[in-house]
Amino acid sequence: MSGDRGPMAGTRLTRRYKVAALWRNVFRASTVVGIIVLGLLLINIANSAFGYVAVTNRVDPGDLVAEDRALEDLDHAELVAILEVNISKGLFRKLANEKPFAERERAEVLGLIYENVVKPEVAKQWTLLESITKRSEIVAEATTAYPSATLRFESWLDVAFITSPQSSDAVKAGIRTALLGSLWTIAIAIVFAFPIGVGAAIYLEEYADHARPAARAINQVIQTNISNLAGVPSIIYGILGLAVFVRVLEPLTSGAIFGLTDSTTANGRTIISAGLTLGLLILPLIIINSQEAIRAVPNSLREAAFGLGATRWQTVWSHVLPNAMPGILTGTILSVSRAMGETAPLVVVGASTYITADPSEPFSKFTTLPIQIYQWTTRPQDVFRNIAAAAIIALLMLLLSMNGVAIVLRNRFSKRT
């Protein structure tokens, strides 16, 4: 084999290997850069979401009870008594008026004592990296600078954080309101955009007339516009949503048409307006992704069906759609992930800055996770940075689980073939 071509093949081969190695390293380097950036991002978030905190109490819980007992061990009546002597008469009466103490759970009374008497406050918090690397310094600093404080390791992201409503107190604040708002708006966006998007894609790919030049030109214009719409900045959709859903369609989006004239609802600035705005935003993406998925279905399948005397619709329904569905679903979930992270259009549409009530219907006021995160990061107190980081982790987990759902759905559909 290596006969007289040997030397020449040898040099050419080494050169080719060198070039191949060069390219391999270039591509590997870009992958490594990507992974480093991602890693930095995650570290940065985790850095704020976990770490030591020094908590000072206005009143030490130990001072409220006798030497040998702890606040947590007391029974209902004792707790009420402590509350009564430690807060003003007016406040006590007000609380009793809201709900008689006899009806309140023991844990609830304990919570009231913490909220109104003990009043724990985060005096200082340390990042995760500091907490890991400089533990002894932190302990030293805490004992000298905050002698009355207790030092503990805090995970800002915990079950209570996810299940608590919004609050002006960072320690108590949670993301439940925002999380429900996100789920509601996304659900409405999907219900609105998915059928329309897939329908439009089916029309453009399977039905649109390409024979007559005029029709072909019109379809070309439509196609170009859809592609352009996919690239329009999201805030433009916010302005559109404000004009159309919040203003023009106010009777509909405020629920007035359905007899819902609840004074707490915010005119047209409701979940349904937000959901429809996000629906508009993802519509072109769903159309384009679905078109691609439909185009990827081999033509031989369509020919087979037509050859059996199937109509266009029978062919699309039985063969094109089932085979395109994995691609359509993947594209949809990716678009939905994008909508999930959108902030600007919803601010324009009128997300509430501060609501504590769960959204209960499409005509409720709303806030969403990204908006909540954004608002927390604009607060001056450092503690809000920590809960913003925790909320970001929650948002990321939500997106990851949605992508997981996409993978499961895709596998389910592919297996049927």
């Binding site: 390409h210 024979a211 081999p298 031989s300 399948l301 369509r302 020919e303 087979a304 069906a305 037509f306 050859g307 059996l308 005397g309 199937a310 109509t311 029978q314 039985s318 063969h319 085979n323 073939t417």
Partner: protein, 273 residues
């Protein structure tokens, strides 16, 4: 030639008519945009026979086959002129539904293309969309038996049609067509993607199917045309405008032993093509 039955849009079964030929092209021209792929073709196909269409590649064999069940319309650029009479009706008449045409004239393609569904579903689907009311299990059994596939698949009807070998897939496609009970089955080089043994099985099958169906088969394989067909149509390219034209048509034995045209003789003996 002109018949007075154009007022009806129903494609009747041939027993109701006194038409001799299964299908007949008259002055057929097919264009792709401005390119004429088929020029003035007149062709009468005999009932319950195998008719082979042969000729060099690009001479319009597939085009003429697809013209017989209006499959060319699926290509956006295609345009057809002339008439194709099926049971005395012009299938290109305004009032005729192409879907209806394809129910009566089925098609098997060059590359086996079973649906990515179960074997059973592959056969049953066509009949179901046509509103078949009888016993579906029986129909599937009959179609697979006629396609000489039943014994090989009877234990795995639930498996994907794609799990079969190429030859089995092609017979599944034939079974699928049979299940819709067409009168004519068009086959476009049905064995060209298969090995010699699978090819022989398909050829045997074509002979058997003539008991119930009229078969038109495109093939580039001379031996195959000689083995399976009763009649042969030889197409070639017009020297001047590269359009496909019918050069010679007649009983296969005569065409192969005593061709009238020099072009046919050259092609059959392998001197060009």
């Amino acid at each position: 030639m002109d018949n007075g039955r154009i007022h009806t849009t129903k494609l009747d079964s041939w027993q109701d008519t006194n038409v001799t030929y299964a299908i007949e092209a008259q002055g057929l021209n097919v264009y792709y945009d401005n390119f004429r792929a088929l020029k003035n073709v007149d062709l009468k196909i005999e009932r319950h026979k195998v008719t082979a269409i042969i000729g060099p590649s690009g001479c319009g064999k597939s085009t003429v086959l697809r013209a017989f069940n209006r499959m060319n319309e699926l290509f956006r650029s295609a345009r057809t002129e002339g008439r194709v009479l099926f049971n005395g009706l012009d299938i290109y008449h305004d009032q005729i539904d192409p879907v209806e045409v394809r129910r009566h004239i089925g098609m098997v393609f060059q590359k086996p293309n079973p649906f990515p569904k179960s074997i059973y579903e592959n056969v049953a689907w066509g009949a179901r969309i046509h509103g078949y009311r009888g016993n579906m299990d029986d129909l599937v059994y009959q179609a697979l038996t006629q396609a000489a596939l039943w014994d090989e698949v009877k234990d795995k009807l639930g498996q994907s049609g794609l799990s079969l070998s190429g030859g089995q897939q092609q017979r599944l496609c034939i079974a699928r067509t049979i299940a819709t009970q067409p009168e004519i089955i068009l086959m476009d080089e049905p064995a060209s993607a298969l090995d010699p043994i699978a090819t022989l099985r398909i050829e045997e099958l074509m002979r058997e199917l003539t008991n119930n169906y009229t078969i038109i088969v495109v093939t580039h394989n001379m031996q195959q045309a000689g083995r399976v067909s009763d009649n042969t149509a030889f197409f070639s390219l017009d020297e001047t405008d590269r359009a496909g034209v019918l050069i010679e048509y007649g009983p296969t034995l005569r065409i192969f032993s005593n061709p009238a045209s020099k072009m046919t003789e050259d092609y059959i003996t392998g001197r060009f093509g």
